[in-house]
């Protein structure tokens, strides 16, 4: 194992313990690790975007391209520069142009993509057949009932009384089961993160396990 790896492992071990020390109480080691993480992340992002994206795609692109392909690059370049006007209150309104461009493009692409890639396929996947007395049919019935009653729960144009009240209550049961599943998965994820760090400390740093 190289010296760099050893130093890196010990540094990672120290930072892991510094972050975990917050569980006892806030302290300077935690603050140090937290600030380091934020600073390194921001610095890395800035360098990466500047040298691997802006420089080759905009600067070198402008030098290498010809004709319209070259001059069109001035548009995103100018929009990017205008975005920086947010730092200057007097001309901050200019930043609305690139924001409007981004929002407009995002909305335009998003509407078609959501319909084509989400709404239609999901509706299609909810139109399920009942083929007799079997588990697949039962599963399909539960799914359809779940979707319909959950949608009815969010129908607020009429008071939730009578048939609508009962169906909305069934919808709540499905919503609660969904929340429970999400909570269970979230718990699993957080435990996995702890396991990952403990595994690093026990295996890579202390060599207690292999």
């Amino acid at each position: 194992m190289g010296t760099g790896t050893i130093i890196g492992t010990w540094l990672a071990g120290f930072l892991t313990l510094a972050i975990l020390s917050f569980l006892y109480k806030d302290n300077p080691f935690y603050k140090l690790a937290e600030h380091l993480y934020v600073g390194v992340s921001a610095g890395y992002w800035l360098i990466y975007v500047a040298f691997f994206d802006v420089y080759p795609m905009l600067w070198q692109g402008f030098q290498n391209e010809t004709g319209l392909e070259r001059w069109i690059l001035l548009v995103p370049g100018a929009l990017g520069v205008i975005m920086l006007s947010r730092w200057f209150p007097r001309i901050a309104w200019l930043s609305r142009w690139p924001i409007a461009f981004t929002v407009g493009m995002g909305a335009g692409l998003g509407i078609t993509a959501n319909i084509q890639g989400y709404v239609v396929p999901q509706i299609g996947a909810t139109l399920l057949p009942v083929t007799g007395w079997n588990l697949v049919s039962l599963n399909n019935v539960i799914l359809v009932v779940g979707v319909v009653t959950t949608l009815l729960y969010f129908y607020f144009s009429k008071p939730h009384k009578g048939v609508l009240g009962w169906t909305a209550k069934i919808g709540i049961v499905f919503i609660m089961i969904s929340f429970g599943a999400s909570f269970g998965y979230t718990l699993m994820a957080r435990l996995s993160l702890l396991i990952g760090r403990l595994d690093f400390l026990l295996a890579d740093l202390l060599h207690i396990i292999r």
């Binding site: 975007v49 890639g117 396929p121 699993m188 994820a189 990952g196 595994d199």
Partner: protein
């Protein structure tokens, strides 16, 4: 019990999770259908086919996603499938690259011939749509700055039509964009490995057959490791995960019983 110092709970959790990591005490790992489907999607690739791997996570999700990434890469290199890596989180891409180099070295795979890292480009929606037309418009160079037309692996790659399977490793909403822009528009075949938090959001795509398979959380990683026969952090972490879950269930039951009896005493 209301006055219990929460640090005692943290300490108990630490002990309960640490012990099973040191002395492995867990049950058998049985792969579930979504993970088997994802495994089969990679298994169906032929030697020379292209697997595109998308790194859409960073260090905050590494314990869950790195084990499944390594497993998928091992399966791909084992089958002589060519691997193209890219990512939509600049800060996470080095993790993916680290795993790629590590696994490639196990199989003597050569950079530029058997695998390549295209790096990061900002604006994932624009990137995904542009890749449907011409990949080199967006990824003119790889992460090293080498023009992709000079690399044997990418000299004839143009669009999704040349990619046999996309396997995304997701800790956020990028999975939605992959499905809505690359799958729906360009019919790109895809499977995903997600954090456990993201898995419930991804299941509808599996149910609607928009994706081939789904590997969710550390449990999914353990199942994938079982399927390829190479145990790793996922498998090692399962006993700790099981005991941790049992402890939390115990806490929930105790908390509710405590609440019930306290309310009864007051009432």
């Amino acid at each position: 019990m209301n006055n219990l110092d929460r640090r005692i709970i943290f300490l108990i959790l630490l002990v309960v999770v640490t012990i099973p990591l040191i002395i492995s005490v867990g049950g058998e790992i049985r792969p579930t259908a979504p993970v088997i489907s994802a495994h089969e999607a990679v298994e169906a690739l032929e030697p020379g086919d292209y697997l595109m791997v998308s790194i859409d996570f960073d260090a905050t999700s590494a314990p869950e996603l790195m084990p499944m990434l390594r497993s998928v890469l091992r399966q791909a290199f084992e089958k002589d499938v060519r691997v193209l890596m890219l990512g939509h989180l600049a800060i996470g891409l080095p993790l993916g690259h680290m795993a790629l180099e590590e696994v490639a070295a196990e199989y003597d795979a050569e950079y530029g011939v058997d695998y390549a890292d295209l790096g990061y480009r900002p604006g994932y929606i624009a990137v995904m749509i542009a890749m449907g037309r011409e990949i080199s418009d967006i990824y003119s160079t790889d992460y090293r700055g080498t023009p992709i037309r000079e690399l044997p692996i990418t000299e004839n790659i143009h669009s999704y039509a040349d990619i046999d399977l996309l396997f995304g490793f997701e800790h956020g909403a990028v999975i939605d964009y992959w499905v809505r822009y690359a799958q729906a528009r360009f019919d790109q075949k895809m499977a995903f490995g997600t954090t456990a938090v993201m898995a419930p959001d991804a299941y509808p795509y599996l149910q609607s057959n928009q994706i081939e398979g789904l590997v969710g959380g550390l449990k999914g990683a353990a199942e994938y490791e079982t399927l390829i026969g190479r145990p790793g952090l996922g498998t090692r972490g399962m006993p700790a995960q099981e005991w941790g879950h049992l402890l939390i269930i115990g806490f929930i039951v105790m908390g509710n019983l405590g609440y019930f009896f306290t309310r009864r005493r007051k009432g």
